[in-house]
């Protein structure tokens, strides 16, 4: 559902915004507005304006769409492909962690021991509203 909505939305920048206001999908979910696209862009931090990003997403959606070819009428959905397996329970012991240095090597940017993320979809509280660090 979501994928389809994006997929329809994606065509907009390429096909010149035409599809945005009037398209309905085959399932009849209704119109997809510019606002929806902008909302999704903000949530997902994906810029649909980039041709390359759109192409990649289109491919992913097309890949997932092949699932629709399978006829699932009358088949009871499984909870999980592992639904008849035992869920392994771990004892409550600390056996991992303490590898900040290794993990931070994956980060494009690092400040002290923090990962640095772009200011994305999270509304930023003003600096003076932030609390002092608990050590004080």
């Amino acid at each position: 559902m979501w994928a389809r909505a994006v997929w329809l939305g994606l065509r907009a920048p390429l096909g010149g915004r035409r599809g945005l206001t009037s398209t309905t999908d085959p399932q009849g979910s209704g119109r997809i507005t510019v606002e929806v696209i902008e909302h999704l862009e903000r949530l997902a931090l994906v810029d649909f304006g980039s041709r390359e990003a759109v192409a990649r997403l289109e491919k992913a959606v097309a890949f997932a769409d092949r699932l629709r070819a399978v006829d699932t009428d009358g088949v009871e959905p499984m909870e999980s492909v592992l639904e008849d397996r035992c869920l392994y329970l771990r004892s409550d012991n600390v056996v991992e962690g303490n590898c900040a240095e290794e993990l931070l090597q994956n980060s494009h940017r690092v400040v002290e021991e923090y990962f640095v993320a772009p200011p994305g979809n999270i509304s930023l509280p003003k600096l003076d509203e932030q609390e002092p660090f608990p050590h004080s």
């Binding site: 999980s80 771990r90 409550d92 999270i122």
Partner: protein
């Protein structure tokens, strides 16, 4: 208007957490602020709403409010819900992170047995039905402090459902009446916590600490059976005490181990429920009550002025004492729930369904956990009332501070003094000193043994009650001395010498003939003046009752 709140523990002592929390919950600390505290249309629970509707005043419709809560409690465990990294507050950034917590490709969740047991135990304590089979799902968010892009939770089939939480509210002029209320618990589900985001406006960047990412949470969903801030705050406080008694969560709000979101709506009794808003950022019990009462009044004002309530998420600004819409929560989010493919269903057993020949480490027996349930706060309070003839509000006060009940019980064990006297000293004098200096029970300079010894001296009439207060003050200031030492050093013993007392009484009567005349003229209360004079002469070391007896004898002769 219902009664003011019980005295809460001191949640504001250590303010924590700088970080705006981009994850599932926004969070800010909250020192003082003020908010209006008016609620109209009190009622107790959804069912009774229609019955308790008050008569409309001045032609205006009465309003009723409904408050439901979503409470996230961090599970008290050594390691995280699905990984073996440590759970600890205020550790160096990203030091408690495993490859799974950082969502590195190829890592898989491995469920922590302790977290499951904590959920079952909490469910049992809250009278829930425990689902023998529960399921894990993915809930998708796009936040930098949730690197997987989804949270593992229990959406379709949570571990516990259909419970209830009973709490009591003090009411009446002297706060001495208790009203017991019940709120239904819809469900309890296991889920992962998110990491923390630290926003840097100046450099326009967000710093990410994943230490909290993957810590086990219990989400407890309370039905909208509450009708004002005080009811919600009292229910949360009771839940907090239960979690702490169980040891399933430390539930310290200042450290973010207990976080509350409130769903609030108002309507006219007898009419359909109103549109609700969700208020986040409720991280102390005091501000929880304030925020809810503010939001109820805001909705009423909005509707009475012809406005409408939007189904939106708002956050409470503790400085301004009001709620504001949260811009990043605009519009309805699609969480794209899907079954967690890496975790089979979670199966629990009881004595009758326990499979034979399985590894006991791999089986969780609900009956066994039920047997391990400790005494819950409600039962403790009832026991205090039964055992010591205590007033209900004193039982509440003893349970309201961490370690206070234990302190009280240790004093009781060692002293001959009456429980009533012990209760009064612990709740008034001892607690008063602690509050004045903002100390925790564990930081008290006076030990239970010292207080017990002091109360023994008082009980055996070796010292007067005003001398006892003086001794207590000395005990507080001079650690290491015993009450007996202080009494002898300061010469605080009660004068037992009857003859000496009689002499002092005679002297007092001679010095104040006018007062003696007053008494004889039929003003029996004037004797109190003489008692005071004699007490002063004894440096407060005589029992006023004994002085009174002597004086009465002399005056009537």
């Amino acid at each position: 208007m219902a009664a003011p709140m019980l005295r809460w523990g001191s949640p504001g002592r250590r303010w924590a957490l700088a970080w705006g929390d981009g994850g599932f919950r926004q969070r800010r600390g909250s020192p003082t602020g003020s908010a209006s505290n008016r609620v109209r249309g009190q009622s107790s629970g959804a069912q009774q709403l229609l019955d308790t509707a008050q008569k409309p005043r001045k032609g205006k419709h009465e309003w009723a409010a409904l408050v439901g809560l979503e409470i996230h409690a961090q599970i008290s465990s050594n390691s995280k819900l699905f990984s073996g990294s440590q759970v600890r507050f205020a550790a160096p950034p990203n030091s408690l992170v495993s490859f799974f917590d950082a969502s590195l490709p190829g890592t898989l969740p491995v469920l922590n047995r302790r977290c499951v047991e904590a959920a079952v135990m909490t469910g049992l304590a809250l009278n829930c039905h425990i689902n023998k089979k529960s399921l894990f799902d993915r809930k998708h968010y796009f936040y930098a402090d949730l690197p997987a892009g989804y949270q593992i939770t229990q959406q379709r089939l949570p571990i516990a459902v259909n419970g209830s939480l009973t709490y009591s509210i003090c009411t009446g002029k002297k706060q001495s009446q208790m009203i017991t209320k019940t709120v239904r618990i819809k469900q309890i589900q296991l889920e992962q916590d998110s990491g923390k985001s630290l926003h840097d406006d100046l450099r326009s960047q967000t710093l990410i600490d994943l230490n909290r990412a993957g810590v086990g949470l219990l989400e407890v969903v309370l039905e909208p059976d509450m009708s004002c801030g005080e009811e919600a705050a009292t229910a949360v406080r009771e839940l907090q005490l239960i979690l702490q008694a169980l040891g399933t969560s430390q539930a310290n709000m200042a450290e973010g181990q207990l976080r509350v979101d409130a769903n609030i709506s108002v309507h006219h009794p007898g009419e359909p429920w109103g549109i609700r808003t969700e208020v986040k950022n409720l991280n102390s019990i005091k501000f929880l009550a304030k925020a809810i009462d503010y939001e109820i009044q805001r909705q009423i004002d909005e509707l009475e002025n012809g406005g409408e309530i939007l189904n939106e998420t708002r956050s409470f600004d503790y400085k301004l004492g009001c709620t504001m819409p949260m811009r990043d929560k605009e519009g309805k989010q699609d969480y794209r729930f899907m079954p967690e493919p890496n975790l089979p269903p979670l199966l629990l057993y009881d004595a009758t369904s326990l499979p034979a020949g399985t590894d006991s480490q791999q089986v969780i027996n609900i009956d066994q956990i039920r047997e391990r349930l400790p005494e819950l706060p409600r039962v403790t309070r009832e026991r205090l009332i039964q055992q010591y003839g205590m007033l209900p509000e004193h039982g509440f006060a003893l349970l309201n501070e961490v370690g206070l009940l234990e302190f009280f019980q240790n004093v009781i064990k060692e002293t001959r003094a009456e429980p009533k006297k012990v209760t009064s000293w612990v709740l008034n004098i001892f607690l008063g000193y602690l509050k004045q200096q903002n100390l925790a029970i564990s930081e008290s300079p006076v030990t239970p043994s010292a207080l017990a010894e002091l109360l023994d001296l008082l009980d055996s009439k070796a010292i007067s009650s005003s001398a006892a207060k003086q001794v207590f003050d000395e005990l507080w200031k001079n650690e290491g001395k015993t009450p007996a030492q202080i009494v002898s050093e300061k010469q605080l013993e009660l004068m037992q010498d009857q003859e000496a007392l009689e002499q002092l009484c005679c002297a007092a009567m001679e010095l104040h003939p006018q007062v003696v005349m007053d008494v004889k003229k039929g003003h029996p209360r004037a004797i109190n003046k003489l008692i005071g004079i004699v007490r002063k002469m004894t440096l407060n070391r005589a029992d006023p009752a004994v002085i009174k007896e002597i004086l009465e004898k002399k005056l009537s002769s």
